[in-house]
């Protein structure tokens, strides 16, 4: 095992050119075998995503959307095909390097929140910071400011069971932003939020995307998100059905209050 030297990265990221491909999948395939029944979740997916893009992934349930997310985020390994994050093959990373990736470079927002029930909201948000080696005081400060960002500053000491679904979702989003990741993977981030809160979250995400260049990949049915995005991806039956840029697609946004 090479000695850990936080100063020098083991694999240098490419720096030539401002915009480059941050996520690339090559012929991604995934099959599950459960009790003798073989399910092909992904049947050869090829995508390229550039830095600073906001990509919306759409598809019916069972289309392999969640599986695709897991692959891209390094949470699961494909049966065949490759995933390159910043031209680094994820399959070739050691366990500790994968942990580093998940901790600091990729933020996850799950559909089922996946908060740790025995911790308070603040502790949930600061856990990734602790894993990244941040000191407890700084972690607490940053955690509180993140909670303020999502509008839950007064509930920092509540546990997940004491919060509504929407509030838990917001804590999950705050947690995903804990270590200022380069890539944000969101699975239905605004599904359980009301109009106003949803709008706030969306505005935050948009700001992150435009001002800090965070690549955001969302699976959502929210039309407002579709309105903000750069590209749309349709997945059906484990394959990319259609890829389109925002301006090629007509998105109409209705509203209840006429705004």
């Amino acid at each position: 095992m090479p000695a850990i030297d936080p100063g020098k990265p083991r694999i240098e990221a490419m720096r030539d050119g401002d915009r480059r491909i941050i996520i690339r999948t090559v012929n991604l395939k995934k099959r599950y075998v459960m009790k003798g029944i073989v399910t092909e979740a992904l049947r050869g997916v090829n995508v390229e995503m550039a830095t600073g893009e906001l990509i919306v992934v759409m598809g019916p349930s069972g289309s392999g959307k969640s599986t695709f997310f897991n692959m891209v985020g390094g949470l699961d390994s494909p049966t065949s095909g490759r995933v390159f994050i910043d031209e680094v093959d994820v399959a070739q990373l050691t366990a500790t390097e994968l942990a580093f990736l998940r901790c600091r470079k990729i933020g996850y927002v799950f559909q089922s929140y996946n908060l740790i029930t025995c911790m308070t909201a603040l502790e949930n948000v600061t856990t990734p910071m602790i894993f990244a080696g941040v000191g407890p005081d700084e972690a607490r400060e940053r955690g509180m400011s993140l909670l303020e960002l999502v509008g839950l500053k007064d509930r920092w000491f509540h546990r997940p069971i004491e919060m509504s679904g929407g509030q838990q979702q917001r804590v999950a989003i705050a947690r995903a932003l804990a270590n200022q990741p380069a890539i944000l993977l969101c699975d239905e981030p605004t599904a359980n939020l009301d109009h106003k809160t949803g709008m706030e979250i969306l505005r935050t995400l948009q700001r992150l995307n435009k001002e800090r260049g965070v690549t955001i990949i969302c699976a959502t049915h929210d039309h407002r998100m579709m309105d903000m995005c750069d590209r749309l991806l349709w997945i059906r039956d484990g394959r990319i059905e259609r890829v389109a840029r925002r301006d090629e697609v007509h998105v109409s946004i209705g509203s209840i209050d006429g705004k």
């Binding site: 990221a13 915009r19 941050i22 699961d76 910043d86 390097e97 998940r102 996946n114 990734p128 894993f131």
Partner: protein, 499 residues
């Protein structure tokens, strides 16, 4: 534009890990409590058994020593009034070391030289071992092996070739009987037996002559009365006859002889109807119900003792009782009270001896049955702990997956679980140890009474507690290793899928 540099994830400091683990326990207090209780029960049982055994052994040691002391007088009385049996001689010399007085005595009695003694002792040791084997055997097996012979007669019987063959054949036929040594050794012993027996007889004759000489010097006195002079002339007579009696033992023997005589006098006095009636009316019972026990209870207090002595004096005046020869120390109330107290102590010791009769064999002298029980119960509790830990780990797969998504290392997950198990095991072990020692001590108090305090083996008990706690930790940790290994090796998505 943000760049993605891939580096190694640094490991979390131990302190942080501990804090996160404690957090987890605090939240899941109920489930953690279940594990603690299981570990606690196991360790309580273990410490209970261990502490009882430890206390028992120390009480036994003290009892044995004390009993030996207290019985010396009576022992000497029997030694001087009856002749030694061959069996007695052999068993006595078998356990003795060359420094023991019995060694020198036996050599002197049997006129055995320095060279002859060691081989005689070896033979005696073997004889004692074989004798004890035969005496422990049940009737059916004994009959099958040696028909109706018992004791030393067995050796005589097996001296015949045909009988030995029969014995060997039956021994081989009997299963579940483990002979003391190999058959060849036994046969060699039987061949040597006539020589050993001859030597033992010489010793016996020597003793017979010595005792005859001592008895001649008794005169009109009973042995017991003579022994009151053991520190003086009578002691000299004993030594001249060839028996070994050092000054210190002589003093003790004399004291005890005096005490025994006085005790006997008091106990025999209740044979007189008049005195019985007095005691009966004092205790409000029928005269026929007056026993030595009850008498000692009355004599236990100053007031009771002086009351009874008065009655005795009156009885003496009326001629019902022969007066007790004046003696030193004189038989007054305080002496009587002291005698009563000694009597009580002796009874407690005898009771203790009886309780310990079944303690032999097994681990730490716990007894075969107890060792087996202990082993089985530890096994069952170990399985229970494993089950509790497995449930705990299985129910937290989702949490593990989430932590991995946030950047936890595999080692961290493992450490977290094993740490939690160790902590719970330590707590459970500590509580269980405390409870077990209390219960064990309590039971021993009930069984042995005050004897326990005199011989309280505190350091041993503490060691028992420490062992139990360590065992608790090891049990819990070992039980959690396998499931946590499995948990930490999962890819995050797989773990989530299981949910």
């Amino acid at each position: 534009m943000k760049t993605v540099d891939i580096r190694e994830q640094p490991r979390l400091s131990f302190g942080r890990t501990v804090r996160l683990t404690l957090n987890g326990i605090r939240y899941r207090l109920f489930r953690a409590a279940v594990t603690v209780v299981v570990v606690g029960v196991a360790t309580a049982f273990l410490t209970n058994i261990l502490s009882e055994s430890v206390i028992r052994r120390s009480v036994a040691r003290k009892t044995r020593d004390r009993m030996e002391e207290m019985r010396r007088g009576a022992l000497w009385a029997t030694r001087l009034s009856s002749s030694r049996t061959l069996e007695g001689i052999l068993t006595a010399i078998a356990d003795a070391g060359p420094e023991d007085p019995i060694y020198r005595e036996t050599a002197r009695m049997g006129a055995l030289t320095q060279e002859e003694m060691p081989s005689f002792q070896r033979g005696a040791r073997k004889a004692a071992a074989y004798l004890s084997f035969f005496s422990d055997l049940d009737y059916a097996r004994l009959r099958a092996l040696v028909k109706t012979s018992r004791g030393l007669a067995i050796f005589d019987r097996l001296g015949d070739e045909a009988e030995m063959e029969r014995f060997a054949a039956s021994l081989r036929g009997l299963r579940a009987v483990r002979f003391v040594t190999s058959l060849e050794e036994f046969q060699a012993f039987i061949r040597d037996w006539p020589a050993i027996e001859a030597r033992a007889r010489r010793v016996q004759e020597g003793y017979g002559a010595a005792i005859a000489k001592i008895q001649a010097s008794l005169g009109e006195r009973s042995v017991l009365r003579a022994l009151t002079d053991a520190a003086g002339e009578f002691g000299e007579a004993i030594r001249e006859a060839g028996l070994i009696l050092d000054r210190e033992t002589a003093g003790q023997v004399a004291d005890q002889a005096r005490r025994l005589l006085q005790k006997q006098f008091l106990e025999q006095s209740i044979a007189i109807a008049g005195l019985r009636k007095e005691i009966g009316s004092r205790l409000d019972i029928l005269p026929t119900e007056v026993t030595a026990d009850r008498l000692w209870r009355v004599l236990g207090s100053e007031e009771g003792a002086s009351w009874y002595l008065e009655k005795l004096k009156k009885a003496e005046d009326r001629g019902w009782v022969a007066p007790f020869a004046p003696d030193s120390p004189p038989l007054d109330a305080s002496r009587v009270v002291r005698l009563a107290r000694r009597e009580k102590e002796e009874r407690a010791l005898m009771r203790a001896e009886r309780i310990q009769a079944g303690d032999a064999g097994g681990i730490l002298g716990l007894g075969e049955r107890m060792s087996w029980l202990l082993f089985v119960s530890m096994l069952v509790c170990g399985v229970g702990i494993t089950n509790a830990m497995l449930m705990s780990v299985t129910a937290r797969f989702r949490e593990i997956a989430t932590l991995k998504c946030l950047g936890a290392l595999d080692g961290f997950i493992m450490l977290m679980f094993v740490l939690e198990a160790c902590l719970l095991g330590a707590v459970g072990g500590g509580v269980g140890a405390g409870v077990g020692v209390l219960i064990g001590g309590g039971r021993m108090l009930v069984a042995f009474g005050g004897l326990v305090f005199r011989s309280a083996p505190l350091t041993d008990l503490l060691i028992c507690c420490a062992i139990a706690v360590v065992l608790g930790v090891i049990l819990a940790a070992a039980a959690s290793v396998y499931p946590s290994l499995k948990a930490s090796a999962l890819a995050p998505m797989e773990a989530m899928r299981i949910e």
